[in-house]
Amino acid sequence: MIDITMPALSPTMETGTLSKWVVKVGDAVKSGDVLAEIETDKATMEVESIDEGVVAELVVAEGAEGVPVGQVIMRLRGEGEEAAPASKATPAPKAAPGAATVEPPALARQEPSPTSGAGGEVIPVAVHEPAAARGEGASRVIATPLAKRIAALQGVDLAAVAGSGPNGRIVRADVEAAVGKPVAAKAAPVAGDATPAPVPGGDKKAAAPAFGPPFSDIPHSEEKLGNVRKVIARRLTEAKQTVPHFYLTNDVRIDALLKLRGELNAALEPRKIKLSVNDMVIKALALALRQCPKANVSFAGETLVSYTRADISVAVASPSGLITPIIVGADMKPMSVIATEMKALAEKARDGKLQPHEYQGGTASVSNLGMYGIKQFDAVINPPQGMILAVGAGEKRPFVVGDALAIATVMTVTGSFDHRAIDGADGAELMAAFKALIEAPLALVA
């Protein structure tokens, strides 16, 4: 069924009088046929059909005054459509042809850049769902060819970009804003022809290569990305493209840690608390960061932010994707508290119930894949944080003790550091401090 609405016959017209119906129910009309005469404050004008069909219903009676622009005045039955009884419900007024579309709500594309300073969010709460819903098909994204090309080059998901062009079309400027770059010379500042401020790390030439479309001839299924997945994709692309990573790997002996864990867990049993190795790693990293403040930092463009507290984000797998709840002030919390908090946060994460304040922030991250038997891996920094620690499995390995070969339980850890903020030596100092705390773990409980 095609709805015909009261057209805006002049830019100032708000209502019109339907002075005469030229067609009646059952008439076949084609594009260009006169449907009705509308009287405005200025003149009487004919309304022509732009569609083809059979008149199904005249919603507004002849002579009706003050019909608002956009209100449905009649319905056409398209070719092949059954002659159904006319709906009695009054439909909500549709936008008049030519009228401006509704402004998209404030959106996530103004996200702070990865280098915007302390406390930048990890996963934004609201991800705007724009163009997709506006197109003809649910998956159609309306964007200019250049916007599409640049989005592909920069790894921007157009479905997560709000369009500012005509009828919400995504234009180049929208994509560039989504990449977190200033739009060159588009909006000249009042001060004159100032060149746009350089963006740290935002070298255009460093853009990812354009990959072709996925292989559609291979049997496959497709799933529309959820918001969390989109944000993960964008933020990690951003991190890997704009943050110069360097990696430091260390083998850490954990026999003493495991022994201490056993003793502590025995002692904590009445309180029904059970420490995991990861809880102890969180504590050790937090203390190490406090001992090496040069590694507990954020690069913020013109400034370097040094934190005097260690908030540790912990990577947790949730059904919708990776999320990083935070142990705030892990350097000051007893491990029993860390264990309790971590258990609650992980549960919330699995149920998708984390509040934004529980996952936005953090001064460094821990990602632990040891439970999967992964020996060693390199993690992607979670901007604006300065480092992330990738923790492998603790396993028995041949180990040189003194001058003899012995068996030790060893865990390989790799720190990824933002080289803009942290130098190699400072990173190494942190890794050494971490190793010392794990290997002589009494300091963790002191």
Binding site: P11, T144, A147, L153, P189, V190, K204
Partner: protein, 464 residues
């Protein structure tokens, strides 16, 4: 008595009157203040009357070259007074057209000299009467005027500005044109085609310095072949008007100075914004080298006060002013608009041959650090151009190699001022080379060269 409006516009050139129409369309109560003639320089003393003159010289050129087309035209001559008269009639017709548009759109036209007595109040003086117009917003669209040579005022006798050159009292025999921008080159072309001996002096190292370097070089070669003397990197000094001639000293790039006599001098060395005596200083309106500074939407630093067009700076083009006017008015109306994209403004020079361009030159694109793909297609490779007897010129396109963005297009040759819009639309729609390649161009047309130029940028030109 104070009259109140939603919007008062100071100046009725193509910036002001178009802004007035748009504001009226959006339901605003609008007044427009004009001290001379509705339509401003553009249609009274600029764009339009010069196009009338250039049409005359074009036809005259064809008549004197009729045998190239198998025609015979003997005893061809002209009447300068009638040529001017036609040009003035065209301007007059458009002037009354604007009057009609103002009436139709219920815009109050206030004739007189307006000045800002507050950010949103304009006092208009007509003779000994004054009217005070108060408004929610005021747009300054007072335009610009020709810059004088230091020490020599253009008096309309021997030394002319564009304004005198448009209504010549007599036909120049030896003409010196100082400045090789669009205005200088158009008058040079007109008077050369009408038979004058023409010398162009340009201070910079090439003529039409805002155009692509290849376009400048092509124009210098072509106009020289037409008999003009073109001196670049040269300076004019000691312009001394006498009764029957005007003497000028030209110092060429190699430092040699010679003093020559001309029948007339046209000064086309740029413009000065009209910012005096309209109350800007008292309001503390920010300016940059004389031009009012706006924010890309037309806003000045003074709330409620807007500025558009030539008075706000380059490019000094009517269509830039009109578009700025629309952006400003729609912003005032609370509509969501994009700021003016100067890279999307085409520029046209209606000389013979014509020049038209949009966006970045090849050199500018490279200077911006972009890797470019450049296409070029000559008129000689186009059937329609050969059939027209207009086989000189080329179409050049500059693409961003990374994104396929059409960074710029530069054309020289017959009718290119009408062709450029195709590329301007392409830029506005943000097409890449793919859409341009997949577009079907009608045959035989000059526009096929636009297709070929794009293909050439990607090594795929078909006819050359």
């Amino acid at each position: 008595m104070t009259e109140t409006f939603d919007l008062v516009i100071l100046g009725s050139g193509p910036g002001g009157y178009v802004a007035a129409i748009r504001a009226s369309q959006l339901g605003m109560k609008v007044a427009i203040v004009e001290r001379e003639r509705l339509g401003g320089i553009c249609l009274n003393w600029g764009c339009i009357p010069t196009k009338a003159l250039l049409r005359t010289s074009e036809i005259y050129h064809y008549m004197t070259h009729a045998n190239a087309y198998g025609l015979a035209a003997t005893g061809v001559s002209f009447d300068l007074a009638k040529i001017t008269e036609r040009s003035r009639k065209v301007a007059g017709q458009l002037n009354s057209g604007v009057k009609g548009l103002m009436k139709k759109n219920k815009v109050t036209v206030v004739e007189g000299v307006g000045s800002l007595t507050a950010a949103t109040e304009v006092t208009v003086t007509t003779g000994d009467q004054t009217r005070v117009l108060a408004a929610k917003n005021v747009i300054v669209a007072t335009g610009a005027r020709a810059r004088d040579l230091p020490g020599v005022a253009a008096d309309g006798k021997r030394v002319w500005t564009y304004r005198h050159a448009m209504v010549p009292p007599e036909m120049p025999t030896r003409l010196l044109v100082i400045g090789s921008g669009a205005i200088g080159v158009e008058f040079a072309s007109f008077y050369r085609d009408m038979g004058a001996e023409v010398t162009i002096v340009e201070m910079l190292d090439r003529m039409l310095p805002v155009e692509d370097e290849e376009v400048s070089a092509f124009m210098q070669k072509t106009l020289t072949k037409q008999g003009m003397r073109i001196l670049t990197g040269a300076k004019v000094s000691d312009v001394t008007p006498g009764a029957a001639e005007v003497k000028a000293t030209i110092t060429t790039a190699d430092g040699k100075a010679e003093t020559l006599a001309f029948s007339h001098v046209i000064v086309a060395i740029g413009i000065v914004p009209n910012t005096e005596n309209i109350g800007l200083e008292a309001l503390g309106v920010a300016t940059d080298r004389g031009h009012i500074v706006n924010d890309g939407f037309g806003r000045t630093n003074v709330p409620g006060l807007w500025a558009i067009g030539d008075v706000t700076g380059a490019p000094w083009l009517a269509h830039k002013a009109s578009h700025e006017g629309i952006i400003a008015v729609e912003t005032i109306a609370g509509m969501h608009v994009h700021p003016l994209d100067k890279a999307g403004i085409p520029g046209c020079t209606y000389s013979r041959p014509q020049v038209a361009s949009v966006g970045m030159t090849e050199a500018k694109a490279k200077a911006a650090g972009l890797e470019v793909k450049v296409g070029k297609f000559p008129f000689i490779g186009n059937g329609k151009a050969i059939a027209l007897g207009e086989a000189e010129g080329f179409v050049k396109t500059v693409f961003d190699a990374a994104t396929g963005e059409l960074l710029g297009a530069h054309m020289v040759g017959a009718e290119v001022t009408e062709l450029i819009q195709g590329y301007v639309i392409a830029r506005s729609l943000e097409t890449t080379e793919q859409e341009l390649m997949h577009t079907v161009f009608a045959h035989p047309t000059l526009s096929e060269m636009m297709h070929e130029s794009v293909l050439d940028a990607y090594g795929r030109a078909l006819h050359y």
